[in-house]
Symmetry: C2
Amino acid sequence: MANVELRKRSARLIDVARAAGVSRSTVGNVFSRPDLVRLEVRVRVEEAARALGYAGPDPKGSLLRAGRTNAIGVVVADRLGYYFDDPQMRLFMQGTSAVCDEHHASMSLISGFTAEAGVLGVKRALVDGLILHCLDETAQLIELARNRNLPFVVIDFDVGPATSSIRIDDRGGARMAVEHLAGLGHRRFAILSLITREEYRNDPVRYGPIDRDWRDSAHFAVTRERLLGYADGLAAAGIDINAVPIIQSPFKEEEGGRLGAAMLLDGAPDATAIVAMSATLAIAVLNEARRRRIEVPGNLSVVGFDDVPEAAVSDPPLTTVSQPSMKKGRLAAEMLFEGGPPRSEVLPVELIVRGSTAPPPALTSP
Amino acid sequence: MANVELRKRSARLIDVARAAGVSRSTVGNVFSRPDLVRLEVRVRVEEAARALGYAGPDPKGSLLRAGRTNAIGVVVADRLGYYFDDPQMRLFMQGTSAVCDEHHASMSLISGFTAEAGVLGVKRALVDGLILHCLDETAQLIELARNRNLPFVVIDFDVGPATSSIRIDDRGGARMAVEHLAGLGHRRFAILSLITREEYRNDPVRYGPIDRDWRDSAHFAVTRERLLGYADGLAAAGIDINAVPIIQSPFKEEEGGRLGAAMLLDGAPDATAIVAMSATLAIAVLNEARRRRIEVPGNLSVVGFDDVPEAAVSDPPLTTVSQPSMKKGRLAAEMLFEGGPPRSEVLPVELIVRGSTAPPPALTSP
DNA sequence: CTGTTAGCGCCTTCAG
DNA sequence: CTGAAGGCGCTAACAG
């Protein structure tokens, strides 16, 4: 704000008080509790205020006094544009928004895309509470938020009983995806995975097949849990996840999904069932399959994770594990506004069966 | 934040100073400019801070001191959810976001849905600048923003030279829509209009055909300008807008667009060319036409306004007047960060010709 | 390097 | 109904 310095310093309460020949508190009362002030004095003060261009108390002062900002902050480990772009996040924010509206509070969006931005953002956010979208338990932002001594809620993983968190049953959902396919008779699986552990902001991420060690060291909570869930479901069907091809896919741009899908179909040409860790990736698989003239669900079944509007209108419509994103957003905000002791919630997921899954082309038994 | 009072009052700079036996500024330096403090003292202070659970300066204090919040506020005349829902707004926010990211600033979203919320929001927003999305020049929020003595930018209409604003050439765009159709040979037009003047929050809005008086009194800037533009284009083709059916459509939900489209097709059954004030309304017309087995563009041409992703994939793809929403968002934020004198920008629009327009079924001459 | 001081602008007792 | 005073928490300027 280059011109802040140039703008003439605006009048303060005390200037008006002097001009009107009354005390500061009287001026304060005129603005916040006018009924307490005699009409005559009030008019005099109002005139003085108008003459000085004073238009009511500066919120900076009130803030210091009151200690409340009437806003909550939402932090995301990405650019600010993510809030308006990502379908899942948008649903979440719809939920959060609704609660803020009810409380006449505003919402502050804070980017944790670069470490610098995130640290400053969380340290200096003028808010009464924080919602944190991080990627893993080690995120520095959680520690900083704790230091702020404000209520805060961590989204998508559990950080222990001392900290409020909301997550979904990622592991159970992943298991459901595999169980659905196994129940249809599938035995040859392949997994299209989100990123497991690299800091996607800094390091060049390694995409492609990942092995057991790599998998075991996944530290991004969502990815880790979903991998565990797939393993659960596979184990229940008598299949060792170590025998199942896993591709770590780029995921940010559409193009990324296409690449990952291509790697997967190349790397696991005889799979009849693909589980993907996002709906977007799953849709990329559908598209890549169509390009290769592989029939879905005739010759290949695909299950996604999370639900986005496009999943309902893809060709074929996507079978996917759906999570209540909007409810998550609501709940997070409600936890902040309600206060109370830390609380950890795990919301249920739901398998939405649409048209992308069917029995495998020829049933094979173990 | 119910538990704010319960939480134990956290340590302040001065508490740490006392505990460490140094002055406040030394503690301040330890946190903001550690290189200025002797190692020995620094360690002592840090230990005292840790012991007291002090984790760095409280931003409320810094704010009052520094006078800057490192955030800009965006106000919308709707619920907060609008930011994450409306395609046009989302593009705008993408632009704004990018600039905020560059400046390591955060964004505060403020709802002006109810008068109460808007007034409080603008009066108390802890921001260094404001972007205002209002509906008309008379919006109280503009006056309040002016009072804040902060830089602010009004979006979508001009409030005079003393105030920064960014708008698009609504009038010219509307004219282009009609000219395109007239150029194809159309003579029988109908207009599907956005809301003209009622406070949609309070009054029950009157939808349906609107007459000349009603039209002339339109005070929502965008609607008014687009109506003028349609009139311009029609006049250039020798047609009096007063002879053209205009339907004021509900517009918020999808269902609203459908209703408006139905009213329009009922009310102007012999129109060959429809201009709609939004892409969403135009798509509703396409859908309603399909339902009625009216061929587009064979028997009916449709032009929308604004561009949304769905317009490119509708059936048929929509011819529409496109505006640079993202650029608008960028520019608004840039104007705030750059400071400088008030500035009014009018961004150009562009006619995107797709598949929803063609010559009328039978050319008629005047 | 370290400490002192003077506000930043407001609001809420409390006494008159 | 009105006014005086203290403090919310921090930092920049300046003096040592």
